[in-house]
Protein backbone atom coordinates (compact mmCIF):
# COMPACT_ATOMS: atom_id res chain seq x y z
CA UNK A 1 0.00 0.00 0.00
CA UNK A 2 1.21 3.48 -0.71
CA UNK A 3 1.95 5.96 2.05
CA UNK A 4 3.25 9.48 2.49
CA UNK A 5 5.10 10.88 5.47
CA UNK A 6 5.59 14.53 6.19
CA UNK A 7 7.89 14.46 9.22
CA UNK A 8 7.41 18.08 10.25
CA UNK A 9 3.99 18.94 11.65
CA UNK A 10 4.85 22.61 12.16
CA UNK A 11 7.58 24.82 10.76
CA UNK A 12 8.19 28.45 11.69
CA UNK A 13 10.23 30.55 9.32
CA UNK A 14 11.07 34.23 9.14
CA UNK A 15 9.82 36.25 6.22
CA UNK A 16 12.49 36.34 3.54
CA UNK A 17 14.17 33.15 4.73
CA UNK A 18 14.26 29.94 2.74
CA UNK A 19 11.80 27.11 3.32
CA UNK A 20 12.07 23.39 2.80
CA UNK A 21 9.26 20.95 3.52
CA UNK A 22 10.03 17.28 3.61
CA UNK A 23 8.00 14.52 2.01
CA UNK A 24 8.83 10.82 1.92
CA UNK A 25 6.69 8.34 0.07
CA UNK A 26 6.38 4.61 -0.11
CA UNK A 27 5.09 3.03 -3.27
CA UNK A 28 6.13 -0.03 -5.19
CA UNK A 29 5.31 1.20 -8.68
CA UNK A 30 6.17 4.40 -10.50
CA UNK A 31 4.73 7.21 -8.40
CA UNK A 32 3.38 10.51 -9.43
CA UNK A 33 3.72 13.20 -6.81
CA UNK A 34 1.94 16.39 -5.86
CA UNK A 35 2.22 19.28 -3.49
CA UNK A 36 -0.93 21.15 -2.48
CA UNK A 37 -1.36 24.21 -0.29
CA UNK A 38 -4.35 24.93 1.92
CA UNK A 39 -5.04 28.35 3.39
CA UNK A 40 -7.17 28.38 6.57
CA UNK A 41 -10.75 27.37 5.88
CA UNK A 42 -10.11 26.88 2.18
CA UNK A 43 -9.81 24.02 -0.25
CA UNK A 44 -6.53 22.70 -1.58
CA UNK A 45 -4.67 24.41 -4.38
CA UNK A 46 -2.20 22.54 -6.53
CA UNK A 47 1.34 23.94 -6.27
CA UNK A 48 3.16 21.51 -8.54
CA UNK A 49 3.29 17.93 -9.70
CA UNK A 50 5.82 15.41 -10.91
CA UNK A 51 5.04 12.65 -13.36
CA UNK A 52 8.28 12.01 -15.21
CA UNK A 53 11.26 13.73 -16.79
CA UNK A 54 13.24 16.47 -15.11
CA UNK A 55 13.38 15.70 -11.40
CA UNK A 56 13.33 19.38 -10.43
CA UNK A 57 9.81 20.69 -10.87
CA UNK A 58 8.78 24.32 -10.86
CA UNK A 59 5.41 25.33 -9.51
CA UNK A 60 3.32 28.36 -8.80
CA UNK A 61 4.12 31.06 -6.23
CA UNK A 62 7.86 30.51 -6.58
CA UNK A 63 7.88 26.96 -5.23
CA UNK A 64 9.92 24.08 -6.57
CA UNK A 65 10.30 20.44 -5.61
CA UNK A 66 12.90 17.82 -6.33
CA UNK A 67 12.13 14.15 -6.86
CA UNK A 68 14.82 11.83 -5.54
CA UNK A 69 13.98 8.25 -6.32
CA UNK A 70 16.91 6.83 -4.31
CA UNK A 71 15.62 8.58 -1.19
CA UNK A 72 11.91 8.19 -1.95
CA UNK A 73 11.57 11.90 -1.34
CA UNK A 74 9.84 14.85 -2.94
CA UNK A 75 10.84 17.88 -0.89
CA UNK A 76 9.29 21.29 -1.49
CA UNK A 77 11.41 24.45 -1.41
CA UNK A 78 11.09 28.17 -1.71
CA UNK A 79 14.12 30.48 -1.63
CA UNK A 80 12.43 33.43 0.05
CA UNK A 81 9.20 33.09 2.00
CA UNK A 82 6.48 35.72 1.98
CA UNK A 83 3.94 36.25 4.75
CA UNK A 84 1.24 35.00 2.38
CA UNK A 85 2.93 31.58 2.31
CA UNK A 86 1.63 30.85 5.81
CA UNK A 87 -0.62 27.86 5.23
CA UNK A 88 -0.72 24.10 5.46
CA UNK A 89 1.09 22.08 2.83
CA UNK A 90 0.22 18.56 1.76
CA UNK A 91 2.28 16.10 -0.20
CA UNK A 92 0.42 13.38 -2.09
CA UNK A 93 1.33 10.31 -4.10
CA UNK A 94 -0.63 8.49 -6.74
CA UNK A 95 0.02 5.63 -9.07
CA UNK A 96 0.36 5.55 -12.81
CA UNK A 97 -2.74 3.64 -13.74
CA UNK A 98 -4.03 3.07 -17.19
CA UNK A 99 -7.63 2.24 -16.43
CA UNK A 100 -10.32 4.63 -15.46
CA UNK A 101 -11.85 2.12 -13.07
CA UNK A 102 -8.99 2.55 -10.63
CA UNK A 103 -10.18 6.05 -9.88
CA UNK A 104 -6.69 7.57 -9.77
CA UNK A 105 -6.72 7.81 -6.01
CA UNK A 106 -4.19 9.87 -4.15
CA UNK A 107 -2.68 9.24 -0.73
CA UNK A 108 -1.96 12.36 1.27
CA UNK A 109 0.56 13.03 3.98
CA UNK A 110 -0.52 14.48 7.30
CA UNK A 111 0.44 18.00 6.29
CA UNK A 112 2.96 20.58 7.47
CA UNK A 113 1.72 23.86 8.88
CA UNK A 114 3.98 26.78 8.03
CA UNK A 115 4.03 29.88 10.20
CA UNK A 116 5.80 32.98 8.90
CA UNK A 117 7.34 35.43 11.38
CA UNK A 118 7.64 39.07 10.35
Amino acid sequence: AQSVTQPDIHITVSEGASLELRCNYSYGATPYLFWYVQSPGQGLQLLLKYFSGDTLVQGIKGFEAEFKRSQSSFNLRKPSVHWSDAAEYFCAVGALRRIKAAGNKLTFGGGTRVLVKP
Binding site: Q42, G43, L44, L96, K100, G103, K105, T107
Partner: protein, 114 residues
Protein backbone atom coordinates in the same frame (compact mmCIF):
# COMPACT_ATOMS: atom_id res chain seq x y z
CA UNK B 1 -12.56 26.46 -17.70
CA UNK B 2 -13.61 24.00 -15.04
CA UNK B 3 -15.02 24.98 -11.69
CA UNK B 4 -16.12 23.01 -8.67
CA UNK B 5 -18.74 24.11 -6.19
CA UNK B 6 -19.63 22.84 -2.76
CA UNK B 7 -22.49 23.78 -0.52
CA UNK B 8 -23.23 24.62 2.06
CA UNK B 9 -20.00 26.29 3.09
CA UNK B 10 -20.68 25.70 6.78
CA UNK B 11 -23.18 23.56 8.61
CA UNK B 12 -24.01 22.96 12.26
CA UNK B 13 -26.15 19.92 12.90
CA UNK B 14 -27.32 18.04 16.03
CA UNK B 15 -26.31 14.47 16.65
CA UNK B 16 -28.74 12.07 15.02
CA UNK B 17 -29.87 14.46 12.30
CA UNK B 18 -29.50 13.70 8.58
CA UNK B 19 -26.86 15.19 6.31
CA UNK B 20 -26.64 16.11 2.67
CA UNK B 21 -23.61 17.85 1.17
CA UNK B 22 -23.54 18.63 -2.49
CA UNK B 23 -20.70 19.00 -4.96
CA UNK B 24 -21.03 19.99 -8.60
CA UNK B 25 -18.46 20.39 -11.33
CA UNK B 26 -18.79 22.61 -14.37
CA UNK B 27 -16.87 22.70 -17.61
CA UNK B 28 -15.98 19.03 -17.97
CA UNK B 29 -17.69 15.74 -18.75
CA UNK B 30 -17.44 12.34 -17.11
CA UNK B 31 -15.04 13.39 -14.37
CA UNK B 32 -13.81 11.22 -11.55
CA UNK B 33 -15.21 12.62 -8.32
CA UNK B 34 -13.94 12.27 -4.76
CA UNK B 35 -15.07 13.02 -1.21
CA UNK B 36 -12.45 13.61 1.46
CA UNK B 37 -12.74 14.40 5.16
CA UNK B 38 -10.22 16.43 7.05
CA UNK B 39 -10.57 16.13 10.81
CA UNK B 40 -9.14 18.89 12.99
CA UNK B 41 -5.35 18.82 12.92
CA UNK B 42 -5.21 15.80 10.66
CA UNK B 43 -4.60 15.06 7.01
CA UNK B 44 -7.06 14.14 4.31
CA UNK B 45 -8.92 10.87 4.38
CA UNK B 46 -10.51 9.64 1.16
CA UNK B 47 -14.08 8.61 1.86
CA UNK B 48 -15.58 7.85 -1.56
CA UNK B 49 -14.70 8.09 -5.19
CA UNK B 50 -16.79 7.75 -8.31
CA UNK B 51 -15.81 7.06 -11.90
CA UNK B 52 -19.32 7.52 -13.30
CA UNK B 53 -23.03 7.86 -12.59
CA UNK B 54 -24.10 5.42 -9.89
CA UNK B 55 -20.55 4.05 -9.71
CA UNK B 56 -19.36 4.71 -6.17
CA UNK B 57 -16.51 3.11 -4.28
CA UNK B 58 -16.20 3.42 -0.53
CA UNK B 59 -12.77 3.63 1.01
CA UNK B 60 -13.62 3.31 4.70
CA UNK B 61 -16.57 1.82 6.56
CA UNK B 62 -18.49 4.58 8.24
CA UNK B 63 -21.70 6.35 8.91
CA UNK B 64 -21.72 8.12 5.56
CA UNK B 65 -22.83 7.29 2.04
CA UNK B 66 -22.36 8.89 -1.36
CA UNK B 67 -24.40 9.10 -4.50
CA UNK B 68 -23.88 10.40 -8.01
CA UNK B 69 -27.27 10.98 -9.59
CA UNK B 70 -25.88 13.04 -12.47
CA UNK B 71 -22.57 13.10 -14.31
CA UNK B 72 -21.25 16.18 -12.54
CA UNK B 73 -23.03 15.95 -9.20
CA UNK B 74 -21.71 14.14 -6.16
CA UNK B 75 -23.64 14.00 -2.89
CA UNK B 76 -22.45 12.98 0.55
CA UNK B 77 -25.16 11.85 2.95
CA UNK B 78 -25.85 10.44 6.35
CA UNK B 79 -29.09 9.26 7.93
CA UNK B 80 -27.91 9.98 11.49
CA UNK B 81 -24.91 12.11 12.23
CA UNK B 82 -22.39 11.23 14.93
CA UNK B 83 -20.14 13.60 16.83
CA UNK B 84 -17.18 12.01 15.06
CA UNK B 85 -18.59 13.15 11.70
CA UNK B 86 -17.47 16.70 12.45
CA UNK B 87 -14.78 17.94 10.12
CA UNK B 88 -13.98 19.70 6.90
CA UNK B 89 -15.36 17.92 3.84
CA UNK B 90 -13.68 18.40 0.52
CA UNK B 91 -14.89 17.38 -2.88
CA UNK B 92 -12.44 16.96 -5.72
CA UNK B 93 -12.55 16.08 -9.40
CA UNK B 94 -10.12 14.77 -11.95
CA UNK B 95 -10.30 14.10 -15.65
CA UNK B 96 -11.55 10.60 -16.13
CA UNK B 97 -9.80 8.02 -18.21
CA UNK B 98 -6.17 9.08 -17.99
CA UNK B 99 -3.50 7.64 -15.81
CA UNK B 100 -1.98 10.76 -14.34
CA UNK B 101 -5.00 12.75 -13.30
CA UNK B 102 -4.49 15.78 -11.18
CA UNK B 103 -7.20 16.28 -8.60
CA UNK B 104 -8.74 19.71 -8.22
CA UNK B 105 -10.48 20.60 -4.99
CA UNK B 106 -13.56 22.54 -4.09
CA UNK B 107 -13.74 25.15 -1.33
CA UNK B 108 -14.96 22.66 1.27
CA UNK B 109 -17.80 22.39 3.78
CA UNK B 110 -17.17 22.85 7.49
CA UNK B 111 -19.48 20.47 9.40
CA UNK B 112 -19.91 20.74 13.14
CA UNK B 113 -21.99 18.10 14.87
CA UNK B 114 -23.17 19.08 18.35
Amino acid sequence: SQTIHQWPATLVQPVGSPLSLECTVEGTSNPNLYWYRQAAGRGLQLLFYSIGIDQISSEVPQNLSASRPQDRQFILSSKKLLLSDSGFYLCAWSIGGTSTDTQYFGPGTRLTVL
